[in-house]
């Protein structure tokens, strides 16, 4: 499919796919401190007032991930940032009931047109994907570059040229997004329809006048 399989000695690049990397989850409400007198649990707000550094227990799960760090930093940087790869149906829940090829086609090609939070990865036996997968841009992990280089057996492959180019653009688009309220330019009727679907949206001042249709001025 869209993958290639570099030599083990090849340097790490953006788009490289690794298996079995540690994804750590920390709770700021329950910091599990390891001390010489035993374990304690505390809130992070308390911890930062007392400690400069400390040892804690963190849960970790081995996951599949793709290198997000750009090539130059992946060659020289101290750390490599990766995004987790999960089952497509878990990342894009709109597809959880999808079965037909036509529906799948509609979902997959959409991310060429709109800025999604995922990057589609088709199944491929050689790389180890038995079903449709997705890069979840929302979940990142960070590991030492030097130590990741030593784990070259965990690199199962990388995106081919065309997929890598697409991935590079998609990830940069994802991280350059800015938040805005999508309903701000809607006129009264459009807003009414929008509020029917998303009642929690708060109209802007120019949308609150009763007598205006489009725009805010009478």
């Amino acid at each position: 499919m869209i993958y290639e399989f570099p030599d083990k000695s090849a340097p790490i690049r953006q788009g490289d796919i690794f298996v079995g990397l540690p994804r750590i989850d920390i709770s700021l409400n329950k910091v599990l401190i390891v001390g010489e007198t035993g374990e304690r649990v505390a809130k992070w707000a308390e911890v930062i007032q007392r400690y400069e550094s400390l040892n804690i227990i963190v849960p970790v799960r081995p996951v599949t991930a793709i290198v997000a760090t750009q090539d130059c930093d992946a060659l020289h940087g101290r750390d490599i940032t990766l995004c987790e790869i999960s089952k497509f149906k878990d990342v894009e829940r709109k597809s959880k009931e999808t079965t037909s090829p036509k529906s799948w086609k509609n979902i997959i090609i959409q991310h060429a047109r709109i800025n999604q939070k995922w990057f589609y990865l088709p199944p491929d036996e050689e790389i180890g994907f038995s079903e449709k997968m997705a890069v979840d841009f929302m979940v990142t992990l960070r590991v030492s570059r030097a130590e990741l280089e030593e784990l070259h057996d965990l690199r199962k492959g990388r995106l081919n040229e065309i997929a890598d180019e697409h991935f590079r653009e998609r990830i940069s688009e994802f991280f350059r997004r800015y938040p805005y309220d999508e309903w701000y330019p809607l006129d009264r009727e459009e807003l009414k329809a929008y509020l029917g679907e998303y009642p929690d949206a708060k109209p802007f001042p120019w949308q609150q006048t009763e007598t205006t249709g489009v725009g805010g001025k009478k």
Binding site: D25, I26, S27, K30, V31, L32, I33, V34, G35, E36, T37, G38, E39, R40, V41, A42, K43, E46, V47, Q49, R50, Y51, L54, I57, V58, P59, V60, R61, D90, V91, E92, R93, K94, K96, S100, K102, S103, N106, I107, Q110, I114, K117, D136, M138, V139, Y198
Partner: protein, 126 residues
């Protein structure tokens, strides 16, 4: 008198007197005293010099002492610092850690569910 010296123990009864035999002379006694004085002087000098010599040997860092001090410091600091939160058992800590992991995964899935209800809904008609 013969050449032997006698010791007259005046405060004792006559029958407890004992004749001490041997070559007793003043010079022997003085030489012995001088020897003793010399030995004492040597010991005194050695007593001063030895600690000086030994102190130079033990002037190198003592790893055991350093380790003990470090450990004592760590323990002291730990006791001082570990007054936040509350104590839990190791098994309780591991149980909470597992909960944190599962909660994070559940929340990611819930967010994906929420987002799936918003935005463009794909269908066969698209």
């Amino acid at each position: 008198m013969n050449s032997s010296n006698t010791v007259d123990l005046k405060d004792r009864l006559p029958e407890s007197r004992a004749i001490e035999t041997g070559l007793w002379s003043e010079c022997d006694i003085r030489r012995t005293a001088a020897n003793l004085w010399g030995i004492l002087r040597i010991r005194k000098i050695a007593g001063i010099l030895l600690p000086l010599v030994v102190s130079t040997i033990t002037a190198i860092p003592d790893p055991w002492l350093i380790e003990k001090r470090r450990r004592d410091t760590v323990v002291t600091m730990s006791i001082f610092k570990e007054v936040i939160g509350h104590a839990i058992s190791r098994s309780e800590a591991l149980r909470i850690a597992r909960q944190i992991l599962e909660q994070a995964e559940y929340e990611r899935l819930a967010l994906a569910e929420f987002e799936a209800t918003r935005g463009i809904q794909w269908s066969d008609e698209l």
